[in-house]
Amino acid sequence: MIIDYVGVKEVSGSLIVIDGVSDVSFEEIVEIRLDNGTVRQGRVVQIDGDRIVVQVFEGTKNISLNNTRTRLKGHPMELSLSSEILGRVFDGVGRPIDGLGDIFPEKKMNVNGMPINPVARLYPKNYINTGISTIDVLTTLIRGQKLPIFSGAGMKHNELAVQIARQAKISSDEKENFAIVFAAMGVKNDVAEYFRRSFEESGVLQRVVMFLNLSNDPVIERILTPRCALTAAEYLAFEQGMHILVIMTDMTSYAEALREFSSSKGEIPGRKGYPGYLYSDLASLYERAGMINGKKGSVTQIPILTMPNDDITHPVPDLTGYITEGQIVLERALEGEGIYPSISVLPSLSRLMKDGIGQGYTREDHSSLANQLFACYAKVKDVRSLASVIGEEELSEADKKILKFGKEFESKFINQGFSEDRSIKKSLDLGWKLLSMLPQKDLDRVDDAILEKYYQEEKAGDKK
């Protein structure tokens, strides 16, 4: 028997309260029919006896106390899935918006997903060659990793994400199995269009699933957008055996939607008004990356977030950094100098790289080289701050060398073209070439044997 509940008891923000409801389950999906014929979707977020609180995805505009009929759908939020979703475009809650009709579901999955049993996880070790020196050498991306890009408003994070998606190399026999899931949360129309066009130009559009919640779309839908996208990703990865790269942008908008929802529910706010459960909530998204023992596919995540006021200690980047396996941080100063990608090397980190590089993966010298580059570049920063006090001329010879190294490192190593695809060997060699500008004895992070083999002081001048 299907019951329609007429009217609501209370409307507040994006929430409505309905009385006298029976047979309702927590997080169940409801359909709200307005007098004017529009239909909205909502989700049960609290139950108190026969009173329920429903979060309306499309917002509560036009809802009055007596112009609605609400129907319980009897199941939590589910996404219809089949391998036909490749190449399709959906809205923020998983409804097709490309005019190609509904998906004929092979399977319906709860968008909240289930936690992967830590025992069942396969420790990710295969590196993804992105063709970007800074990432490949210093913050290597590993298949099954979640590696966010911390950016700021107006920086080139979208370009970087596109370049990674385009150049990410998976060995040729697995090319068939590679696909991208793209989730846009509160991004501008032209940004979404930029991604679509870029995917089209690189000829991967048929292997992209897009979930779009643009900045003029309902805010509350945004809370479901990444969940839908990740459910699709999990389906493709673990049911269809594909390697999935999930790009989610912008996580800050997502967190803001969550804050809006939380405050309209009257919850006690935590830091900067974000709900106390922001960490757990973000974790329930990010932790859906990974690989599973005995399954072929993988889910790799590149969430993008813009740090308000470029502040890395803002709750969203802060909590994200505690969950993800490293971060790629963009720096406005480098961007200003015209360096692309403007990756700030020192705070960037990939936690999984140590087991995915070195002999058998990239090259034996990789980890020593990376450590040494980090250490030397850190010195560059010290010397620069000293130089700004006493002037460059007053610096010692050794310090001047370091300064020169810093300059070259930024303009040759970090800086690279938007369509330039460097092989890992080329990137590593470039790193050694730069290190060879410094005296051999200063390279204290490298084993002598490796130093012997790769350090090339005398040759440094010869090469062009």
Binding site: F26, G290, T313, R351
Partner: protein, 586 residues
Amino acid sequence: MKNRNVIYGINGPVVTVKDTDSFSMMEMVYVGKDKLIGEVIGITNELTTIQVYEETTGLEPLEPVIGTGSPMMATLGPGIINNIFDGIQRPLREIENKYGAFIEKGIGVSALDEDKKWDVKIKVKVGEKLSAGDIYAECQETSIITHKCMLPPGVAGEVVLAKKDGKFSVNDVVVVIKTEYGKEIKLTLCQKWPIRSSRPVAKRLPTTIPLITGQRVIDTLFPVSKGGAAAVPGGFGAGKTMTQHQLAKWCDADIIVYVGCGERGNEMSQVLSEFSELIDPKSGKPMTERTVLIANTSNMPVAAREASIYTGITLAEYYRDMGYHVAIMADSTSRWAEALREISGRLEEMPAEEGFPAYLPSRLSEFYERAGLTQNLNNSIGSVTIIGAVSPQGADFSEPVTQNTKRFVRAFWALDKSLAYTRHYPAINWMQSYSEYFTDLDPWFVQNVSEDFVKYRAKISALLHEENKLMEIVKLIGADVLPDDQKLVIEIARVIRVGFLQQNAFHKEDTFVPLEKQKLMMKVILHLENKARQLILASIPIARLQERGLFDKLTKMKYDVPNNDLRAFDDYIEEIDRAFNEILKV
């Protein structure tokens, strides 16, 4: 008959039941038709509040809530070591076998393998009088750990039945005792204990034995004792987890309990795969033979995360009672504190600092006070050492969890982001860190290493502090203008930092360093400092010594001298002396 208790309200992981008086505080309950595990956390005349340890999606009002009459219990018996549990002690491998790669709701599996037969030796005879803590049976749990079944605290009596040695499973009765009131108690291989209460001991002992970790900066500068408590605070990327892993791998405790509390899933799978490959240097057996893992990753239910810390420490105390030295790594206690905050928020409690509940400090102190070196009820000596990671928001150590933790631990290893940026690992900042265990431990170091060790340490520490002061000046005007004796401090401190404090976890000689080698390294460094100072007094510029490359050579001795042959250090001393003499001669 009373009314059946049913669900009234649901809000995230918090469920309420109306008009009932049948539950007691902290009682474990089964919620709903799927029998989700929950715990009573609040009782009023009208409403009983329950936190549910599993996902509540799909739960409906009017589903039943059934009490168990007892608080959350850990099951203690053979089969714990080498296992991996979630926050409420459900074995994750078993769950994978039964339910696949994803964790579903309402999983009913028992904590220990009930079918496995253990080779049990019965240690008591009929007629013997036993008291709490006495060992009545033993079995070989793993190749290095002998499991001892002890009378639970509060139980005593005379043995009226004792089975013969043989094969038993955890729930088989092996001994029956009769208490002085004539009540018979059947003893199996396992017992239960409420996770939120500490297990009683005969008495606490002063903590005078260090926990040897093989990590130079910890053993030398900031040691922790067996039975002590240490905190490792650090922002993300500072190397908390790496430090915890190193300690879990190399510290000389008999048993490691590693609690992954609200952390990354991939990290736990790394621990799993790494520990099974690693060989314990003491026993020559795989590291997993002495390790228990508790994995409640950040996406697993938040209430179980809150419980995971208690489950871990209860297991640790149980093995301590057998006379083992146990170290528990909790990564990270901040996630646990956040779980407290999250649940407290759902209960609409009045928040204190930064939204954390007002009882945060008392909960933290309760936890850290469960560490200690103790004489157990059966007179054996055991210890529980707690090493808790703290993840301060925005790497700001003034936040409540770090500050309150500081009050209850005596060793504080502050991880420093700027050290981590330069890839100086372990990134323990020597200026901010401290250990209060020195006075307790120094006699041990004098007795077991040598008096020099304590002297060298004081000298090393003084040099680092001096360097820190000088660096203020160097930052402003550069190192070139300093007088030679101060330049020497800077040079030597660099050797100490790079050659001694920095330690490469991936280098086979450097990942673990015995105390003797630590001592000799300090000796060589200080010898160079001493000789160089003599040169400077003789007005010979320090550059002359630098030319010889001795400073750089010393920064690499950690790799060049193998752990099992320390004679090479004499060559270093000789070489320094030779260089010194030659410079003087010219």
